[in-house]
């Protein structure tokens, strides 16, 4: 357990969780609910995202060893999924289109796969192998809280940077994600 590791891991997770591209979706999906309840929706989204990530970090590796999947394969798999996610973010394809309009469903869609997607799960497992499980647990808590704060402040942030500012930021984080994805695939292939 090292503060340096926790901070590094938390930053990596925060980048992968990418609340910048979650924010516009979050606002779009919760626009019909009254102002007081948007906070509750943010709580729920962050909770589902954090718990999913914690559970997967704990039991994911054990499950992988039973199934005979090596860490390399899992890294490549994560990289492929991440790359697809990045492409969808850069191209502006949104998740959950045509799904039910119930706010509950919308909130879960924001939590998984938007915040805790395959990318965040893969990153958490890889970071756990690198920095130790306890550090990553703390990092997950930190990055989830940071994401939660961003979701809580969805409206003021959105107003401040505006629709086009948010659009641009999402594209840039998509590009960053693509680079991280390629790095994952290369790590898995060790080239």
């Amino acid at each position: 357990m090292d503060v340096d590791y926790i901070v590094k891991a938390a930053i990596a997770l925060f980048i992968i969780m990418d609340p910048f591209s979650s924010l516009p979706v979050f606002i779009a999906l919760t626009r019909n609910i009254p102002n007081g309840n948007r906070g509750l929706a943010a709580n729920k989204a962050a909770l589902v995202a954090g718990v999913t990530l914690l559970v997967f970090t704990l039991i994911g590796p054990a499950f992988l060893s039973v199934i005979g999947v090596s860490m390399q394969s899992f890294t490549i798999a994560g990289g492929v999924l991440l790359l697809l996610m990045a492409i969808s973010i850069v191209m502006g394809i949104s998740y959950g289109k045509g799904e039910e309009h119930k706010v509950d469903v919308a909130v879960v869609l924001i939590a998984v796969p938007l915040i805790t997607g395959p990318g965040a799960m893969t990153t958490a497992i890889i970071l756990a192998a690198k920095y130790g499980t306890d550090s990553v647990m703390a990092a997950i808590a930190l990055s989830t809280v940071a994401t939660w704060l961003m979701l809580r402040s969805a409206e003021p942030i959105y107003r401040a940077i505006g629709k086009s500012g948010n659009e641009v930021l999402s594209r840039i984080s998509g590009l960053l994600l693509a680079a991280i994805a390629v790095e994952f695939i290369r790590t898995g292939l060790s080239i």
Partner: protein, 190 residues
């Protein structure tokens, strides 16, 4: 034997994705009375079993007959698993839900025994032998049937959130298994 059975069960569990089956089963069986709901689950499982057993028995010999090497099929089957996993993770599930007419078809295949399960079955037969594969398939189909017959209890336990989250997690595992087979296939080529 026991070890390869556990391996086969874990691998099949991720491609079968019982929770995903429950999600579709609930939406496909809406409006049916309890009797018809049970019948749908049993019939779908029976059809899925037929397809899976046929794949297990005929898959290997057929590939051999066609002159396909095991390594080639590992690569092909692995690619199939990667695509199936990606669809589970990111896919929009709406198209598959609109099973008009006899809903046994989307449920038994491609949901229970689609390209993913068929590839997995054939890969398992050449890896751990046909008997262990058939045993694992039987157990897995029984698990799927139990999940469907208790669909509403499963949903109560997991909640709507769990029902959305868990199938996606298993989807990532399927992608990883697929990548593992592709690399194994290339490993025996190079």
């Amino acid at each position: 034997m026991l070890e390869s059975l556990v391996f086969a069960l874990a691998a099949l569990f991720s491609v079968f994705n019982p929770i995903n089956i429950v999600v579709y089963y609930i939406s496909l069986s809406q409006g049916l009375n309890d009797e018809r709901k049970r019948l749908l689950a049993v019939r779908a499982t029976a059809l899925a079993a037929c397809i899976a057993v046929f794949a297990a028995l005929a898959g290997g010999p057929f590939l051999e007959f066609m002159g396909v090497r095991v390594s080639s099929f590992r690569i092909a089957g692995g690619i199939m698993l990667v695509i199936m996993g990606i669809m589970t993770c990111m896919g929009n599930s709406d198209e598959k839900k609109n099973g008009s007419g006899d809903s046994i078809i989307p449920l038994a295949s491609p949901l229970m025994t689609g390209a993913g399960t068929i590839s997995m079955t054939i890969l398992l037969t050449e890896q751990i032998g046909i008997y262990t594969t058939l045993l694992a398939l039987a157990i897995m189909l029984a698990i799927a049937l139990v999940f469907m017959l208790n669909a509403y209890a499963v949903r109560r336990v997991l909640g709507d959130d769990g029902m959305l989250v868990l199938p996606r997690v298993l989807g990532i595992v399927v992608v990883a298994v697929g990548v593992q087979y592709v690399t194994a296939g290339f490993g025996s080529v190079v």
